[in-house]
């Protein structure tokens, strides 16, 4: 089972295995490359000794033999290096938390808690909206009250105007002046009746 080393990939931005592979391929390439250079130098040297009994094929054979051996050793040694690098250098220790994940330690929360909080927030939003609508309604009513009060004020002023008319003519109030008129009317009636009586 391959350990994907996800957390390390999150930290490094690449998987440690990629890094190791990169080193492996590079080292292996250089090993082959250098061996070819060795072989080429030897071949070149042999060219200047035409009567030498060493054939290029034999040099090639030696190169393959040498490379084979070195590759075997290379793989064994590289395996050890890989384990050490993966274990000691390219791994995030179990007790280490990456900075951006600190939030998970500060705010651990279960699904239920989170949903409960979301619901609470939702309810608060609804209540805020309700209060906002209530505020609109109250302001609208205040506006309406202003108009109604103005109308009622006009009516009351009208009544005041009426009362003032009487006051301007020396009557304290309508009621009184009316009573006074009724009195006068009654007196007139009595006088009239008296007159009628005498005339009979």
């Amino acid at each position: 089972s391959v350990d994907p080393m996800m957390y390390e990939a999150q930290f490094f931005g690449f998987t440690p295995q990629t890094c190791i592979l990169r080193i492996y391929l590079a080292c292996q390439d250089y090993l082959c490359e250098v061996m070819l250079v060795v072989e080429k130098v030897m071949m070149k040297k042999l060219e200047s000794f035409p009567n030498c009994d060493i054939s290029p094929f034999q040099i090639r054979e030696s190169t393959e033999k040498c490379l084979l051996f070195l590759k075997e050793r290379f793989n064994v040694l590289f395996c050890k290096m890989e384990q050490m690098l993966l274990k000691l250098v390219l791994s995030v220790p179990q007790n280490v938390l990456l900075p951006k994940d600190k939030v998970h330690e500060q705010y651990p929360c279960t699904k239920e808690e989170f949903e409960f909080l979301q619901k609470e927030t939702e309810q608060l939003q609804q209540r805020c909206k309700a209060e906002a609508y209530a505020r609109e309604a109250l302001l609208a009513e205040l506006e309406e009250q202003k108009q109604v009060q103005a109308e009622l004020e006009k009516i009351l002023q009208w009544f005041d105007g009426l009362d003032n008319v009487f006051r301007e003519h020396g009557n304290s109030s309508l009621k009184e002046s009316f009573a006074f008129m009724v009195q006068n009317a009654r007196k007139l009636q009595d006088v009239k009746n008296e007159i009628e009586l005498k005339s009979k």
């Binding site: 391959v2 994907p4 080393m5 996800m6 957390y7 990939a9 999150q10 931005g13 690449f14 998987t15 295995q17 990629t18 951006k100 939003q125």
Partner: protein, 32 residues
């Protein structure tokens, strides 16, 4: 596998911030 690992790790690195940005934006609009 390597690509999938790196891709997942990259998402884990970037998406929370991205989603958070959207959530905060939504909350701001809610506030307004």
């Amino acid at each position: 596998l390597d690509e999938v690992i790196v891709d997942t790790a990259t998402k884990r690195e970037h998406f929370p911030r991205k989603i958070l940005g959207e959530v905060v934006k939504a909350m701001k609009i809610e506030r307004e």
